[in-house]
């Protein structure tokens, strides 16, 4: 059994969180609140040491006063709490939105739209290998039929009905794959905790 007090604390907090499986209880709530508090406290400390110190405090001490501009813009966020001057908060929001939109929109269109459309298009080169060709056709049919399913400005009857029904099948297959993966993910987290409890803490797993 491990002698490290931190491991013991970790073990008791883990048991506290897992106790929710039996039923809601104060031990669980204490652990949950402690986790949220510690996570936020940790985030503040890391932000101070890894962001504010190297990017603001040290440059200011070194005589670089340009960093005062982003500092002032950032501080404007706090005017959210002053009703008469709360409009000033729009300035940092505008800067953040402008920067992220300007950078993101062209890149996202390129990566998420154009490249994905290219990936769906069937071209002769794909049929050099029959497996690759089969998957390309399947992806083409799957994408088209799924898009048809989400085409709601027309009633799904006539030709639209079987195509959108095929779309539902593809969507269900997708959901099934996602669910299977989700089960695996949740079990992996449980495995991690049990490895900690029965290995690191109790020493029963070598």
């Amino acid at each position: 059994m491990n002698q490290d007090p931190w491991i013991w604390i970790g073990a008791f907090l883990t048991i506290g969180i897992l106790s929710f499986l039996y039923k809601e209880n104060p031990f669980y709530r204490f652990c949950e609140h402690l986790f949220v508090g510690v996570a936020n406290g940790y985030a503040i400390a890391v932000t101070y040491h890894l962001v504010l110190t190297p990017r603001l405090i040290l440059p200011l001490q070194g005589g670089n006063y340009w960093v005062l501009i982003p500092m002032v813009i950032g501080l404007l966020y706090f005017f959210r709490f002053v009703p008469r001057l709360s409009w000033l908060v729009r300035i940092p929001i505008a800067v953040a939105l402008g920067f992220s939109s300007g950078v993101s929109i062209p890149a996202i269109i390129q990566a998420d739209v154009i490249k994905q459309i290219q990936g769906t298009v069937i071209y002769p080169h794909l049929f050099s290998n029959w497996q690759q060709g089969l998957w390309a056709v399947l992806i083409f049919i799957g994408v088209l039929s799924t898009i048809f399913f989400f085409f709601f400005s027309r009633e799904h009857k006539g030709v639209l009905k079987p195509i959108s029904y095929l779309g539902i099948i593809f969507i269900m297959v997708g959901f099934g794959a996602s669910f299977g993966y989700t089960v695996m993910a949740r079990l992996s987290l449980l495995i991690g905790r049990l490895q900690f409890l029965f290995g690191t803490w109790l020493g029963l797993i070598k």
Partner: protein, 288 residues
């Protein structure tokens, strides 16, 4: 017929207990399962195999936090082992505020493991020569874009407050041209953002280590070649551990591989419960 009705009303706590036991017992009494390596795990492994350590390094972005650690931390360890075994320079960063501690822990573990076997200075894994930990950048997007032109401008100081440009390894690695592959290990959509901002814009290869929940989101990027490989979930991590340990004969903790017995038995238990539930449902419905 009462039996079937009972099956439909099993207390959820009994289900939790059964699943818990099916996870715990294989951990206490482990058994080996044959590892079938999935194509995308193999692809990522092959990409790292093709990197020339003299000319290029790899960037591992540990974009995860304690919530997803059981799945993702083994991937980080396995990737570090692979890179160090091939003597590929490794840059590590994190885009999650809770990530630096985990990344540092992983780096310490693997460097200690390699240095315990080292005979000479050349065999050892040294900070600044073999790897650099860049830490957590404010405004991640700006850092990613800036690294395309100059990494030491995006990170003027490393995690340990050394001047990045002064480190021996950073004299060889200036920007994405000197990075063979970026691997983002994340439980969120961060790898997709790496594709958007690093791959699309700068052409650098991007791979991912994903939790099983997020892995299906990345298949479209793998299919189009925007991602060069993926380690998916605990199974992917165990596959990568297997590839690295068999090729380089490395010994060391393999938590993902150890967890696969539990994963398999627990999946069988869930399948069994689903089948029993369905039989109960159809049996009672026929009666009505």
């Amino acid at each position: 017929m009462k039996f079937w009705e009972y099956l439909l009303r099993i207390d959820r706590r009994i289900v939790f207990l059964l699943v818990g036991l099916s996870v715990l017992i294989p951990l206490l009494f482990p058994f080996r399962i044959k590892t079938n390596v999935m194509p995308y795990t193999q692809k990522l492994f092959d990409v790292i195999e093709t990197i020339d350590p003299e000319n290029q390094g790899i960037l591992i972005s540990a974009d995860y936090d304690p919530q997803t650690m059981p799945e993702l931390h083994p991937m980080f360890i396995a990737l570090l082992r692979h890179a160090f075994a091939r003597r590929i320079p490794v840059l590590v960063m994190t885009s999650y505020i809770q990530g630096p501690g985990l990344a540092q822990q992983g780096l310490n573990q693997v460097t200690e493991e390699f240095n315990a076997r080292a005979q000479t200075n050349q065999d050892s894994i040294l900070y600044g020569r073999d790897y650099v930990f860049l830490g957590y950048p404010p405004l991640w997007l700006a850092a990613v874009l800036r690294m395309g032109s100059d990494i030491s401008q995006a990170f003027p100081a490393d995690y340990y407050k050394n001047r990045t440009a002064s480190l021996e390894m950073m004299k060889k690695i200036k920007n994405y041209n000197d990075i063979g592959v970026i691997i983002s290990i994340a439980g969120s959509a961060i790898p997709q953002s790496w594709v958007i901002y690093a791959n699309t814009r700068f052409g650098v290869r991007v791979g991912s280590g994903a939790t099983a929940v997020t892995a299906p989101d990345f298949y479209p990027f793998l299919q189009t070649g925007q991602m060069c490989g993926m380690i998916a979930g605990l199974k992917g991590a165990s596959e990568y551990e297997y590839l690295v340990s068999t090729k380089y004969n490395l010994t060391g903790a393999t938590p993902a591989t150890r967890g696969m017995g539990s994963q398999s038995i627990a999946h069988l238990m869930i399948l069994l419960l689903v089948i029993i539930g369905n039989i109960g449902y159809f049996a009672t419905r026929r009666k009505k």
